[in-house]
């Protein structure tokens, strides 16, 4: 079988990451001349089913309300064994990332993550991704079938709606709960805010910020003014100034905003790996030789403590 399956842990709306994921799936299915199915898991599955139905052949809603890794993995495995897909594509959320290699293993396939491009080359399915902290780009040839791949959000363009709406069906799997691990508490930080991966504008701070207070007192008001999401470098997160969920970089979030304003961030390759797909990067840094400037469209060499308060004034004035 050459079909393509998309696995979605639906927690929010039909966001840009979901649209990009479907777009990638649609194009892959078209190039294989096959069908595209989406498997929706999670509490928001019903609310997004119609959106998905516009671009896929079948929408399968799974009776697994809350995510549990072992049980969800068993459910997805069972559906994929039925559908026998050539490829399974997932998004870049926590759940997709942890499920991907295990799903591949159970299906006898091969997995790879953080794909920014997927194509078929003869018999092989190839995935482009960054390696060595973004310093190099690799094309990975997946040897076994199916290929199970999680993709970087927003790196793929959406698909056009189709003339016919896909069929929506419920799958009653009754997968027995695997209680070897159980989630006993779930906590959302900064609830209401969009995912960092979805942000159009990001204001990010690094080691040079110097503490949690300037993040709150200086950067936050600036971000609010710009309608931006807040982020940070690994150094700032490891110092405990801001939550780890803010971390951008090779080992944090990979973001794709239209503007990434890096404040007091040197731009170590580890960090750059997280923003290589940003459309525009700008920086405020005291060091004119800071590597970050090599990736910037514009910047200013100055202490952020002097720049940021003034910048807020100027932005307010310009917005009037």
């Amino acid at each position: 079988m050459n079909d393509v399956v998309i696995g979605v842990f639906a927690s929010g709306g039909f966001d840009k990451a979901a649209q990009g994921l479907v777009g990638a799936g649609r194009r892959l299915a078209d190039s294989l001349g096959s069908r595209l199915h989406v498997v929706l898991l999670g509490s928001a599955a019903l609310t997004v089913a119609d959106d998905f139905a516009r671009v896929v052949d079948t929408v399968i809603i799974v009776d697994q309300a809350e995510y549990e890794p072992e049980t969800c993995l068993s459910a997805l495995t069972r559906l994929c064994v039925e559908l026998l897909p050539r490829a399974v594509l997932l998004a870049n959320d926590t759940y997709s990332q942890e499920i991907t290699p295990r799903l591949a293993h159970r299906l006898g396939g091969s997995a790879v993550g953080d794909g920014v491009e997927v194509h078929i080359d003869g018999e092989a399915l190839c995935v482009s991704r960054q390696v060595y902290g973004g310093k190099a780009q690799a094309v990975i040839e997946l040897k076994r079938k199916p290929a199970v791949v999680w993709l970087r959000a927003r790196s793929f363009s959406p698909a056009n709606p189709r003339a016919t709406t896909g069929e929506i069906r419920q799958a009653v799997l009754d997968v027995p709960a695997d209680t070897r691990t159980r989630i006993i508490e779930r906590k959302r930080e900064a609830s209401g805010a969009a995912r960092l991966e979805e942000a159009r504008v990001i204001v990010s701070g690094g080691r040079g910020i110097g503490g949690s207070e300037p993040f709150e007192m200086e950067l936050k008001p600036l971000a609010d003014l710009m309608g931006a999401q807040m982020a940070a470098s690994r150094a700032a997160c490891d110092a405990g100034w801001v939550p780890p969920t803010w971390q951008v970089g090779q080992t944090g979030k990979k973001v794709t905003p239209d503007l990434y304003l890096a404040i007091a961030i040197t731009g170590a390759s580890q960090h750059m790996a997280g923003i290589s797909e940003a459309k525009n990067i700008a920086a405020i840094n005291t060091d004119p030789d800071a590597p970050i400037f090599k990736h910037c469209r514009f910047g200013i060499v100055e202490d952020y403590r002097k720049v940021v308060p003034l910048l807020r004034e100027k932005l307010v004035a310009l917005q009037k």
């Binding site: 942890e98 932005l315 004035a317």
Partner: protein
């Protein structure tokens, strides 16, 4: 409790991009002047294990590496950080084995080493960044897996695992045995071993095996590419010219900066 921590030795990921070279034929990075270091997330895992042992008196920590013979240095450092025992499986085949090969070798070594209730790995490595070892190892061993954990507590013969998610955190209760992949947070920054302990670590026993010593298809492990293969490796060319805002006063420069920001965000 017997804890096993997997470590990977990698090319120092902190080397600046200008010194980074690749060998396009072998499809891997050139060593150049870069140091070999233990992958940071593996050290975060070891640190998490050490702190767990400090809180629960009866735990032993074994560290395990699959890699070149130089990986002994990573194990010695782990012993200096006060791991209890160390084992190295020397890779005498493909030096860039795919994630499934690595998981199979590690699983075979773990079975040979004994019984472990908690198996820990770093969430991903700073070289290839595949992030698959934890999940594939769990499957090879038939165990459950919890990823992106940053804190482990003992609770009535089970574990409480706090893990990071996109939007916050989740608390797991896990039965033993379990595989856990560790991510960094402010509490598990790896400790610096004492000079004396570094010296002492070279006198401690270190188990060393070859692939042939393990109960595994060693020829397949040496080939290391039945799961996936790096078909191409390149350094992307990216040229950006940074426009530094100019002006006689700070006020003028920041005004220009503000205009640039507005221009970019409005155009979008």
């Amino acid at each position: 409790m017997n804890i096993l921590v997997c470590l990977k030795q990698i090319l120092d990921p902190e080397i600046p991009a200008r010194d980074f070279r690749i060998d396009p034929v072998k499809r891997e990075a050139e060593r150049g002047t870069a140091n070999l270091v233990t992958n940071i997330f593996c050290e975060n895992a070891l640190e998490t294990a050490l702190q767990f042992r400090e809180r629960t008196s009866d735990a032993t920590i074994t560290v395990l590496c699959y890699g070149a013979s130089t990986a002994e240095d990573s194990l010695r450092k782990a012993l200096a950080m006060k791991a209890d025992a160390a084992a190295l499986v020397v890779n005498d085949g493909n030096q860039n084995p795919d994630p499934l090969t690595v998981a199979r070798v590690l699983a075979a070594a773990i079975r040979k080493l004994g019984t472990f209730e908690l198996i820990m790995v770093g969430r991903e490595a700073g070289d290839w960044g595949a992030g698959q070892t934890g999940g594939l190892l769990a499957e090879e061993l038939g165990l459950p897996c919890v990823s992106f954990v940053d804190r482990i507590e003992s609770s009535d013969g089970k574990l409480r695992l706090k893990r990071q998610t996109d939007t916050g955190w989740e608390l797991f209760e896990a039965e033993l045995p379990v595989v856990v992949s560790i991510t960094n947070d402010e509490h598990n920054v790896p400790r610096i071993p004492k000079v004396r302990d570094v010296m002492m670590s070279y006198r401690q026993p270190l188990t060393q095996w070859k692939l042939d010593d393990l109960d595994i298809a060693s020829d397949e492990a040496r080939a290391g590419n039945t799961y996936y293969e790096v078909a191409k490796l390149s350094i992307p060319l990216k040229e950006t010219h940074c426009e530094f805002v100019t002006g006689d006063t700070l006020d003028e420069r920041v005004e220009k900066l503000a205009k640039c920001i507005v221009e970019v965000t409005r155009a979008l």
